[in-house]
């Protein structure tokens, strides 16, 4: 662990890694979903749940996954894009959160761990399905300029169509379709969007189409198995004077920390804050008594630590 003083401009902190993790990645996923019906459809006798499903809904989560030897642990974390209450509240109320919010829908958190065959299930869509992977690998279709192709009758009733620009694979069967869009990344291809249309009939016999569009941001994170690509946390200005500080990553990545803690020289946690927004963000003043402290930012298996002196 190294500590770099950058004068009054700020701190640069390095990370430590817990457990055996050798990679940590994040991806922002936003899903839009609605039930589509024809513009002239008669909706008078639709059930309330059908009516409600016709409203386009957007839900965003932070997908994280870390590799630990042969295991992958994936998490779906709630986003806290809006400023958490404690960032604007007086500091004396920082630790008095509302218990309801901790357990409501907003804090839904899913963590699953698997290995072996389950890897593809839990790993975010950076790994295409086996069939799609075969197309990508064997044909190299997506890498050829203006490449495109079509497979019919190969997958039951489904027709598979692919193209290289844009890089996408479309599964089509009747009115049902599944379109996967890929984008390139230094680590390889990742799924950037999945668009699905799935027709069904409701209880009144009306034909409806369940529509879903999920989009995934470019994976951001670190891998340190073979070649270390550690990132650095920048804290500006240095928190040794009272005042707001901005936390960011040198790479500019917008990772989503789980917690921020400030620990005094006796090892006591004097400040702990969760429900953080994605980096970079600005903290209100920390309100600490003079002394030596460590600021720790938790990113999955990573802990970025910054010792500093509060004047």
């Amino acid at each position: 662990m190294r500590l770099l003083w950058v004068g009054l401009a700020g701190l640069t902190c390095h990370l430590s890694v817990t457990a055996q993790a050798n990679a940590y990645w994040e991806q922002r996923q936003c899903t839009w979903s609605a039930t589509l019906i024809h513009a002239n459809a008669e909706t008078y006798m639709l059930d309330p749940w059908d009516l409600e499903s016709m409203v386009m809904k957007q839900r965003c989560v932070i997908r994280t996954w870390q590799l630990d030897g042969g295991k992958v642990t994936a998490s779906w974390l709630p986003t806290h894009d809006q400023r958490p209450e404690w960032m604007t509240a007086p500091p004396t109320y920082v630790n008095q959160g509302n218990g309801i919010q901790w357990q409501g829908v907003d804090s839904t958190e899913i963590i699953q761990t698997s290995s072996g065959e389950g890897l593809a299930l839990f790993t975010p869509h950076i790994l295409p399905t086996a069939a799609e992977q075969a197309i990508l690998n064997d044909q190299g279709m997506l890498l050829q300029p203006d490449g495109a192709g079509r497979l019919m009758g190969q997958m039951g009733q489904w027709t598979i169509t692919w193209s290289s620009s844009p890089a996408m694979v479309q599964w089509q069967s009747g009115d049902s379709s599944l379109v996967t869009t890929y984008q390139s990344h230094p680590m390889g291809w990742y799924v950037a969007a999945v668009e699905r249309r799935w027709p069904r009939r409701n209880q009144q016999g009306l034909c409806m189409v369940d529509y879903m569009l999920s989009q995934f941001s470019k994976p951001a994170g670190m891998s340190w198995s073979n070649h270390q690509t550690w990132d650095e946390l920048l804290v500006t200005p240095s928190p040794h004077e009272q005042g707001p500080v901005t936390l960011s990553l040198r790479s500019g990545d917008s990772l989503h920390p789980e917690a921020l803690t400030v620990i005094d020289v006796q090892g006591r946690v004097v400040i702990k804050r969760t429900k953080l927004p994605s980096l970079p963000f600005t903290l209100p003043y920390l309100s600490l008594t003079p002394g030596h402290y460590r600021m720790q930012l938790v990113l999955g298996p990573l802990i970025l630590t910054c010792p500093f002196l509060q004047l």
Partner: protein
């Protein structure tokens, strides 16, 4: 030898005595068990003298009802699940005695006890016609009343039966009309949404409503038996719903839900759903005789108000006996629900404060910290449970209104979603935007591959209702002389509220424009 003989005599004597005693015991027992005459016990009773009551004015048996005299017969018809008790107090006080600010009228007191309710509207109308042609006709003949002067006052389903009867009288080859006019209260001529939504084979929303309530109010962290009202009508739930309540609430279900859903599996409900062709036909048909329709417009929260009236339906007997129009107060459960919501909010805040204290104390180490953590978690669970219960009390009315159609979601296809592919390298490959016209969703670049989809906007619309039937259904009948609103009156109140008294007074006074037919002299 003599000594031996003497000893044998003594033995014989003792044996004989023993056998004799045994014989006596056996004979005695047998006499006691079966040998005694059956009239021994009665013989011990004191003799009674016959002292039967002899009325001073000679003997008379109550062999038939008598009717008051009058200018016309008012036939009162109850709704689904009711009987003559539904109207009897109003009927009696209208025919004689009157009530506070309600003079009696020159009408004959009589009403059918009930009509069959296990069949269709047609069967019910046939049953009522049978009553009109037999019991009622004999009274009309005795009282020298023209049947065309008679009026049927019908509540709820009774109104639909009356309209069905009216339609039967169109067939003069089969039926002879026995009715001059009709007054309906809270009859859903345009269909009853609740009948569709509560039907176990239809919307089946009653189960969801009840189960949600049970789950939220029976949380072991907050449950308090003695805080819940004991609602005695609950055991009368339909079997299908009963089983749902039992599975969700267990034995506690009987005291949980201030609500009744009786009779909503009756066959006739299929005919009063808004989608029923029969009710649609009745709702569009002009009655063949003067008809007045009245509909209730209950104040919010309608659920707690009609629940109060249901709860009190048979518990305000004394007040109604004195004044049949005294069933105005429907605040009891409104107050109860507000108090419960406040109480659960207090529980939530207290639990949260305690949980925060435990969280603060848990910052140390060791078992004590663990204990504080556990306590905090338990208190936070309690806070969540209290919040859910509070939420239920605050929102039960909204849920209930969706069941009866008083609160509907409407959808309007206002504009369009336009989904276009972004330029390569964008963070997200696609962008969804809203365009007013489908033709606006174009992009000259074929790479964009824009797709247009209709965009629907939802809005919630509140509809006036009486807690069970929509005002727009009970107050809409083509050809009716008048549609009269009963403000602040729910479906259960509208037979016995002070508003009903004013309604009847105006009708019988002939004050309803076009309703001179209904004018009835006071006694």
């Amino acid at each position: 030898m003599r000594k031996r003989l003497k000893k044998d005599q003594e033995n014989f004597l003792s044996i004989s005595v023993t056998i004799g005693i045994i014989t006596l015991i056996v004979v005695g027992l047998s006499q006691q068990m079966v040998g005694q005459p059956c009239d021994v016990a009665t013989a011990l009773l004191l003799p009674a003298d016959a002292d039967s009551f002899q009325p001073q004015n000679g003997q008379a048996l109550w062999t038939n009802k008598t009717a008051t005299g009058g200018d016309r017969i008012l036939h009162f018809l109850h709704g689904l699940g009711g009987n003559a008790d539904s109207w009897n107090l109003v009927a009696a006080h209208t025919a004689a005695m009157g009530s506070f600010n309600y003079p009696p009228r020159k009408v004959v007191y009589m009403q059918p006890y009930s009509y069959i309710q296990n069949g269709s509207l047609f069967s019910m109308a046939m049953d009522v016609d049978s009553y009109l042609g037999s019991t009622a006709r004999s009274v009309a003949i005795n009282q020298q009343i023209d049947e065309m002067d008679n009026v049927m006052i019908a509540h709820s389903l009774g109104g639909a039966v009356a309209l069905m009867l009216d339609s039967l009288y169109d067939d003069t080859a089969v039926f002879e009309a026995k009715l001059g006019g009709i007054i309906t209260l809270g009859s859903g001529f345009q269909g009853v949404v609740a009948a569709a939504n509560l039907d176990p084979n239809g919307g089946d929303m009653a189960r969801a409503f009840v189960i949600e309530a049970c789950l939220r109010l029976s949380d072991p962290d907050i449950w308090a038996y003695n805080r819940l009202p004991n609602l005695r009508w609950f055991p009368n739930l339909d079997p299908f719903l009963r089983s749902a309540v039992d599975s969700a609430c267990g034995l506690l279900g009987s005291v949980f839900i201030p609500f009744t859903l009786k009779q909503f599996d009756a066959p006739v409900n299929q005919e009063i759903k808004p989608s029923s062709p029969l009710i649609q036909a009745l709702g569009q048909r002009t009655p063949g005789r003067p008809t007045l329709v009245a509909y209730g417009v209950e104040d919010e929260p309608v659920f707690w108000r009609i629940a109060t009236s249901l709860y009190r339906g048979d518990s305000v007997g004394m007040a109604l006996a004195v004044d049949p129009f005294s069933m105005d107060d429907d605040e009891a459960l409104v107050t109860f629900a507000n108090a419960e919501a406040n109480r659960y909010e207090a529980i939530r805040l207290t639990a949260l404060a305690d949980a925060n204290w435990h969280r603060w104390m848990a910052q140390g180490f060791g078992f004590q910290a663990l204990w504080h953590l556990g306590s905090a978690a338990a208190l936070e669970r309690k806070a969540v449970a209290a919040w859910r219960a509070k939420h239920w009390y605050e929102n039960a009315n909204e849920s209930y209104k969706q069941i009866i159609g008083g609160r509907t979601l409407t959808s309007i296809q206002s504009d369009f979603w336009c989904r276009c592919r972004n330029e390569a390298g964008s963070d997200f490959p696609y962008t969804l935007t809203v365009v007013s016209q489908a033709s606006d969703c174009v992009n000259a670049d074929p790479y964009a591959a824009c797709v247009v989809m209709p965009r629907w906007v939802m809005s919630v619309v509140e509809h006036d209702n009486d807690g069970l039937v929509l005002a727009s259904s009970a107050g809409s009948l083509p050809g009716a002389i008048a549609s009269i609103a009963l403000p602040g009156t729910n479906h259960q109140q509208m037979r016995n509220s002070s508003v009903t008294r004013e309604l009847f007074k105006r009708i019988f006074n002939g004050q309803v424009p076009g309703g001179a037919f209904f004018a009835t002299a006071t006694r």
